[in-house]
């Protein structure tokens, strides 16, 4: 793949998405799009660690929550500016990733065990956040509504959408860069076979640590943005299993270990969720139940997700067209 094609596709996709709020002005739709983009960002974080690095976390909520609470608490308790708070919260997320990663990878945890321990960390954070006054306890933390660009608060939802879209796009460029770098090659080598990678001079612990830090930072930024958009966070939003699950569903459904996978998956999931609600009415949980079925079907029949499906369809289409 040429450099122009590798990056051009991302730019085109971003431009097309950026036109959406111009075409559709419904607040509900834009709201759904913003949420989908937040999930896409969190999911890209998961994708880096699991899709490329092969380390399946079931507890990315730990990072999302660190970013969410980090942002909210820095602003409400310490009066820090929203922009600085979001950046710091992202760094806090990376630090949490470093600690969890160091402890788990040092102990040689892989596969199911890594999934379990990340799940447990997220759960510990949830219990603590729910019980301590510092995080607002069970009542959660509210950021005061003060609409102003200086506070990263905007009257128009479209602006939030464009900002999160820009972040998602930047992260996709970054992922493409990683894919084409030595770090990316090492990360994939670690996923495929750690011993073989080590024999070829790959410092596997170092690679996994860098991956989890970067992954956690991306997911924490998603959390920080979530709080900035909804101006509220509590323990079950921040550290609940919903975000761990959505962060992993996106890439798996969209295409594991691909740059577009998380975005495709997150958009598809939200579209599907809305569709389910439209058909079945407001039945609780019906959308997630569908996602679960989709997850099983994708693993059973289309390991490479939507992205793979699209590629295969495109190939079929080209083959059918008369030359």
């Amino acid at each position: 793949m040429s450099v122009a094609r590798a990056y051009g596709a991302i730019a085109i996709a971003a431009l097309l998405l950026a036109l959406l709020p111009v075409m559709v002005q419904s607040n509900t739709v834009i709201n759904a799009l913003v949420t989908a983009m937040i999930i896409a960002l969190a999911a890209q974080g998961w994708n880096l660690l699991a899709g490329y690095g092969g380390q399946f976390s079931f507890g990315h909520a730990a990072f999302f929550g660190a970013g969410a609470y980090g942002n909210a608490i820095l602003q409400t308790r310490y009066g820090i500016n929203a922009y600085a708070a979001m950046l710091t919260a992202t760094a806090i997320g990376a630090a949490v990733g470093a600690v969890i990663g160091y402890l788990s990878f040092r102990s040689g945890l892989r596969g199911s065990y890594f999934a379990l321990i990340t799940l447990a960390f997220a759960e510990v954070f949830r219990i603590i956040a729910n019980a301590t006054p510092f995080t607002g306890g069970a009542a959660g933390t509210l950021i005061k509504l003060q609409v102003s660009a200086a506070n990263f608060q905007f009257a128009s939802r479209a602006i939030y959408f464009w900002i999160i879209l820009a972040i998602v796009t930047a992260v996709m460029f970054l992922m493409r860069g990683i894919e084409r770098s030595r770090f990316g090659a090492y990360l994939v080598a670690v996923r495929e076979n750690e011993d073989a990678a080590a024999a070829l001079g790959v410092d596997t612990l170092d690679v996994k640590l860098k991956a989890i830090m970067l992954s956690a930072a991306m997911t924490a930024l998603a959390g920080a943005f979530y709080v900035q958009y909804f101006l509220f966070v509590d323990s079950s939003i921040a550290f609940g299993t919903w975000i761990s699950v959505e962060a992993l569903l996106g890439p798996i459904i969209g295409g594991l270990g691909t740059v577009f996978g998380p975005l495709l998956g997150a958009l598809a999931l939200h579209f599907l969720g809305e569709l389910a609600k439209a058909v079945a009415g407001r039945v609780l949980g019906i959308d997630l139940a569908l996602f679960g079925i989709l997850l099983v079907l994708i693993i059973a029949f289309a390991r490479d997700g939507l992205q793979g499906l699209l590629t295969r369809l495109a190939r079929l289409w080209r083959a059918r067209r008369p030359a």
Partner: protein, 252 residues
């Protein structure tokens, strides 16, 4: 006399109650091919793991290029110039041949295009040029062995540890791969090989060590060690050497 490239002194490795390597020593001089042979379960692969850093020795020292390396991790040893292949081949199954080799090439170059170019050159040398963009998962046994060699070679090793690269190949495949290994030596790479294909050992190795039940029982040229009664007994059981000798006498 110059210092040897690798010196293993009194190395032992214990797994629970099992002494897999028992006070073994060996020396690999720079240049040429040194063989390590022995019956199944003798501890050859364990000794390789001690040298390449996948297992820490219980005791003993491992000196590479006059520096003690027994405390270093595998990737540090790889960057010092020790590469290994695995007895059970370990390709990165989801990657292409070129990407597999590039992982090794990245050790000495940061840039992607450089690593990929180098991978293509090395694939050519081991006879995989035609399979460059094929997924590693789909390779034949003999191509996988070549891929192991190629990846190791891409790290620009000074010492290459080959763990039964010929096992599982048919005689014509063995014949085809031997020149590839000889070409490595011509390039100045020193090789230590574990091998069961005795014909290959006899034709390739300058010096051979024999390991049995974790202990080094003999060393010398291939011809010398195969005459050694201790070696024959290690392979064929106690008394075998005497039986063969008497058999030879009665025929002679």
């Amino acid at each position: 006399m110059t210092a040897p490239l690798l010196r293993v002194s009194n190395a032992s490795k214990r797994f629970g109650g099992l002494l897999a390597v028992d006070n073994a020593s060996l020396i690999v001089k720079a240049g040429g091919i040194t063989g390590l042979i022995g019956p199944n379960g003798a501890g050859k692969t364990t000794l390789f793991s001690l040298i390449s850093g996948f297992e820490p020795p219980t005791s003993g020292s491992i000196v590479f290029d006059e520096a003690e390396i027994s405390g270093l991790s595998p990737h540090r040893r790889a960057s010092l110039g020790i590469a290994r292949t695995f007895q059970i081949v370990q390709p990165f199954a989801g990657l292409s041949v070129r990407e597999n080799i590039a992982v090794g090439a990245y050790l000495h170059c940061r840039r992607r295009d450089e690593a990929l170019d180098r991978a293509a050159v090395i694939a050519e040398r081991v006879g995989l040029a035609s399979r460059l963009d094929a997924p590693a998962a789909g390779l034949t046994v003999s191509a996988r062995k070549r891929l192991e060699l190629a990846r190791a070679l891409a790290t620009r090793p000074r010492l290459l540890l080959l763990d039964e690269v010929l096992a599982g190949l048919n005689p014509s495949e063995v014949r085809d791969i031997i020149p590839v290994i000889k070409a490595f030596v011509a390039d100045g790479i020193t090789i230590l090989m574990v091998e069961h294909v005795m014909q290959a050992v006899m034709s390739l190795c300058d010096h051979v060590y024999v390991l049995a039940e974790g202990r080094m029982i003999a060393e010398g040229t291939p011809a010398e060690v195969t005459r050694e009664p201790k070696v024959i007994e290690a392979y064929l059981g106690p008394g075998a050497a005497a039986r063969i000798a008497s058999g030879a006498a009665s025929h002679g």
